[in-house]
Subunit: 134 residues, 6 copies
């Protein structure tokens, strides 16, 4: 099984609902360093999992939809705690349809075995979501 | 599949028995940078794999049982080579019963698909153990 | 010249005033990975720049005063852009009097040649402030 | 499942054929930071996945066959794009027979569940290949 | 003294002349992870060393002039060994006049105390050049 | 001013004398990730601060004198606390005479403006010593 991975980052404000979150119930923020790993069993005719330039562009486009925002005011997250693991899943959900629509080149979507999205939130913690984007 | 991970470290002395270990047969030591990754298929009602604060506290408590010790004199390791991979398994064995006893919150233990413990021993080497803690 | 350094982190929300800040004029946030480096010409009688445990405790205490806050609502920052370089200077200003008051042990303050505070805000950017804390 | 990993690096020149590669069609180069992860279900009698010294030596020997070369002129890569993911697979193909021939010690090859080879090409991209070396 | 730093990277082929370079006399290549640090004594009216967006754009523009090239065929390097430390100095020489021409905003050039350019060439080696860009 | 830096590591056991050291009074250990930075004002005729291969060899030789040892039993450290900052100074003291004796090539010793030795002991702490080796 082959993998490629590219990375980027975004910076947001948010707060969490629930006593268990302690001081994170306050409005605070985070830099999320994001990495996506794409896996497939065989390389394509160019010797690629997919065009890494397309992968980086797609990632930056999806992260651009979150960057420099207060997630507490984002209509799409109303009533949700935008935890790191939730955001990993959310970025997966935003990437998957674009991949299926061909953003990583024709033929890539069908060949992908899995997509893993990881978000480092601090020097001591990260979260991830992994699934099949097809 | 969702993951969260938290990290810590501990510093110990030890030596190994067996000619193949060469100079590591001498009493020496290591800083182990430890990361635990917890995986589950669905997030809980708060949008979490588990409370990251509880995970960090549990990890620090388990590492506290090893930190600043000479493992050659630890009764629990008598007759064992405390290699990096052995220690990864040992930390797993110390975490699992506490997770089952509820250290990561009620309901977390049953939901976990796997627990991975990794120990970086130097800039060029690390080891890990992964299993189901339930 | 000898140095020791310890690190920590904090997570805040804020926004900037001024057109040049572009999308950073929106309320957003950051994880700041902080490192302080303390320098002195000669080691003390214990072979130390200073007790690293005290340095870590002092850093965590100062970062605790910023962590999980919306800096836009912090009275002490009214009318200031809390840029990364400004925050590096601010943390220096909070550390210096405590060091002078003996937080790093008696005799340490007078012996320090410099204190450097650096804040990494993302995988591609950091800022720092360096001065004499005495 | 236990893992150990060791790392090294190599530095090569190469170019790619295909319009999609854009400026990477020019002769350019890369530093590849390489990590191999070896996995097995049970530790051997010494408490090891395998002798980490042997693993490091084997990795360095295989990377030595690529280091300081222009891959465009390497006969073994004629007609291939030596992409990062291709090179990860290639290093796997060079490691596997040596492991089977006993380079990691007698008994190791048969016990290995998988071998993962990853190559970081830049601060924002890496690729990997994972398979069973037996 | 305040600092800000931004980073980028470029990938080139080259070779060195001189027996002491051993196998590096062959055409090979490198990924250079580049960081520039800008220092000034006082922050500007916006609380900045300089606009970090301008600094990143300038760095990327200068690195773009080197990226994906075979430095052995670059007319500007004829007769020079493009060692890592030489390239650090070269990037400084390319940044300085643009900074003086206002690329980091009006007033920044005169206020800068120093500019440091560092290039990481591998996990175990880096080089840097530091000077006054004015 | 130009710099080059190379890195290595060593793994030792030791303990500290003095109540302030708390649990570090027990025999424990550390992995020290070491980096040496060499600075000079002008490059030599080959475009170098010094031959990086010689620098790496010298560093490994000096670290080899400490690696896999119990520093509490090292005659040369009798009565000293082998703190991280002390060890940084000690490695400087071992490097300097070899540099003066020509280990980095003829002419290098006299040209060096400074030598900085840094030791990372854990993910959250490091120490350094910097001086003129001549």
């Amino acid at each position: 099984m082959f993998s490629i991975a590219v990375s980027g980052h975004f910076m947001v404000a948010h707060s969490f609902v629930g006593e268990m979150f302690g001081p994170a119930q306050n409005l605070h923020g985070a830099t999320y360093a994001v990495e996506i790993e794409l896996r497939r069993a065989e390389l394509d005719g160019n010797g690629l999992v997919c065009d890494i330039g397309l992968a980086k562009r797609l990632l930056d486009e999806v992260l651009g939809g979150l960057d420099y925002r207060n997630l507490d005011e984002a209509p799409e997250f109303r009533g949700r705690n935008t935890t790191t693991e939730f955001l990993a899943g959310e970025i997966f959900r935003r990437l998957a349809p674009r991949i299926k629509a061909g953003a990583l080149g024709p033929g890539t979507a069908g060949a992908l075995a899995s997509l893993r999205v990881s978000l480092r939130e601090s020097p001591i913690a990260w979260a991830a979501f992994e699934g099949k984007p097809g």
